[in-house]
């Protein structure tokens, strides 16, 4: 266990080596926030309320979504996401050095990822505070809601990691996962509620989506944050997240056992 903790620490330290780049990233991040703001402003031009959601709530939702993306590693605002990293390591053969460690490979990667997560969380604090002032995003109604959001966000992170891990393993079979990786990210972007909240989707589409884990990644924590999903309903949504984690975890272990045999190491 200690070993994984240390990996996590080193991974965090490694990120710190690049803290000099942060300022320029911040500029890019706030520019993207501004674009999102303008986009929703245009859509809300003639109404104060769409589907029971005020402009104010919508902006909070969308900017929190962008901040979340930076934290849980999926759109790589601050990060290279796992699947990309892995496919390049498989292609160059560098993966050999990772697999050579007497550790559980999935936990090894998780510890890596978790160290980066910690870094992302810290970096996101000033972004969040600035966003409160610039875009007037609001805080949750109560500490209880904030706590629920934090739990749900942690679950989102685990889900993202598991999906990312499985996509990564595709490179063991084909040495390439860019196609699958890009496709997955597109699907998640569209169907998780990260850009367009799911309540804007037609009923049938939301029905179909309830059979997939995507909504659990963005839609659930963000809806909890803005108060669209409340107390019991929130707990229910979080249990669904946990179930998805269980399913994906089992799937990823199975896929890992199969993929290990498939690895074709490249180079020297």
């Amino acid at each position: 266990m200690r070993a994984y903790l240390e990996i996590c620490k080193k991974s965090f330290q490694e990120r710190m080596a690049y803290r000099g780049e942060l300022l320029i990233r911040f500029v890019g991040i706030f520019m993207s926030f501004y674009l999102l703001y303008m986009f929703w402003k245009a859509l809300y031009a003639n109404s104060t309320d769409v589907q029971g959601i005020s402009f104010h709530s919508m902006i909070t939702y969308t900017i929190m979504s962008a901040i979340m993306g930076g934290i849980i590693n999926i759109f790589g605002i601050l990060n290279v996401y796992l699947a990309y990293w892995m496919s390049s390591r498989v292609r160059t053969g560098e993966i050999v050095m990772d697999m050579m460690k007497p550790t559980d490979f999935q936990l090894y990667l998780f510890s890596h990822s978790f160290g980066r997560l910690l870094f992302n969380v810290i970096v996101s604090v000033p972004i969040f505070i600035l966003a409160i002032f610039i875009f007037k995003i609001y805080l949750p109604d109560s500490l209880g809601v904030l706590a629920l959001f934090a739990v749900s966000l942690s679950m989102s992170y685990l889900l993202t990691f598991l999906i990312d891990f499985m996509v990564s393993l595709v490179s063991f079979w084909t040495t390439q996962n860019q196609g699958v990786g890009g496709f997955t990210r597109l699907i998640i972007a569209l169907l998780s509620g990260s850009f367009i909240p799911l309540w804007f989707f037609p009923d049938w589409a939301r029905n179909v989506l309830s059979y997939f884990p995507f909504a659990s990644i963005y839609h659930v924590p963000l809806s909890i944050y803005i108060g669209k999903i409340k107390s019991i309903e929130g707990l229910y949504a979080i249990s669904l997240q946990i179930i998805w984690i269980g399913v994906l975890f089992a799937g990823s272990r199975l896929l890992w056992l199969k993929s290990r045999r498939k690895l074709m190491t490249h180079g020297g």
Partner: protein, 332 residues
């Protein structure tokens, strides 16, 4: 005691044939044509505790593939591997706990962090007791001078420093077996010598079994008591260096300096003669003539000032063995 046992080991790689151009790449999607490469093609050997084995062969012979299977990263297509009684792919973690691996062209060190941080991490991963860890760091400082750059981020290290760091890293947990895949690639003579001394020392002190892959045969000469030559996935020689010299290295060269340049030089039993002014080099087969036969013959005919005998280099011998291997192949 045998620590490594390999029997009838095969590894076949399949690569899909890629056709050129856009249409070709579409076709690739629908056809399942592939090329198979027998990277390791029926290899068997045993290695005893404390041996230093030179595992050599031309590029693409299957050396790295063998090592990757020994570490349990690659699954054999068929055959048996046992390392200290464990099957590397089955007992992956346990096997990795007591081996050390260096791939000279890669690094296991954290690129952006000071060298010491990687060591600290490995200490926890391998659960190295505090005392052993400290003793080892001291030993590596003494023998490899790593203390000079232990606090430098790895990305700023020179190749030689990084390699010393990687070798130290692979030995922090006192492994029973050390796999070194081209650990001296691209290093200057001084660092090379350092590393050789170090490997020798570790081998003697700790009885560490070492499997060394290299294209620099002077590494092998300096370190190994046994050499295995592999080509096209097959072991074509397995034995001592002395033996290989005796069998293949029977060609010697006699270098002579005369008092005055002879008009022409005739020597019975010479394979090849080169004469340039007062200097001559004469190749001969030691199996058929002794050097003293040749010398007395020449000294009887010409006034000799100075002479030296050169044995064929190990490089030359190995080249002959590779070529002979190719010969067999084209016949069979």
């Amino acid at each position: 005691m045998q620590v490594i046992k390999i029997e009838d080991l095969y590894k076949t790689f399949k690569t899909y044939k890629r056709k050129k151009g856009f249409v070709g790449s579409i076709q690739t999607l629908f056809t399942k044509e592939y090329i198979t490469v027998n990277a390791v093609d029926g290899v068997s050997f045993g290695i005893n505790e404390g041996e230093i084995i030179g595992y050599v062969g031309p590029n693409g012979a299957g050396k790295s593939t063998t090592i990757k299977m020994l570490t349990g990263i690659l699954y054999p297509t068929s055959g048996v591997i046992e390392v200290c009684g464990l099957i590397p792919t089955k007992d992956r973690k346990r096997n990795l706990m007591h081996i050390g691996v260096v791939f000279g062209q890669r690094t296991q060190l954290w690129w952006d962090l000071p060298l010491i941080e990687s060591f600290e991490l490995l200490r926890h991963i391998y659960r190295v007791p505090e005392k052993i860890y400290r003793d080892n760091i001291a030993l590596f400082a003494e023998l490899l001078d790593i203390d000079e750059f232990i606090n430098t981020p790895v990305r700023l290290l020179s190749l030689g420093q990084r390699m010393r760091g990687d070798i130290a890293a692979s030995l922090l947990h006192n492994p029973d077996i050390l796999y070194l895949d081209e650990p001296t690639i691209g290093l200057d003579v001084v660092v090379k010598e350092r590393i050789r001394q170090f490997i020798k020392e570790i081998n003697i002190e700790r009885k560490t079994t070492v499997i060394l892959t290299t294209h620099d045969l002077s590494d092998i000469e300096a370190l190994c008591n046994r050499i295995m030559i592999i080509d096209h996935g097959k072991v074509i020689y397995d034995g001592s260096i002395d033996e290989i010299r005796r069998r293949f290295g029977t060609e010697s060269t006699l270098l002579i300096e005369f008092k005055e340049p002879p008009d022409q030089l005739e020597v019975d039993g010479a394979l090849e003669i080169q004469l340039e002014g007062i200097r001559a080099s004469i190749k001969f087969d030691r199996k058929r003539f002794t050097a003293s036969d040749l010398i007395s013959e020449i000294a009887g005919k010409y006034p000799v000032l100075d002479l030296t005998i050169e044995d064929i280099s190990l490089d030359g011998i190995i080249r002959d063995v590779y070529e002979e291997g190719k010969l067999h192949e084209s016949v069979s």
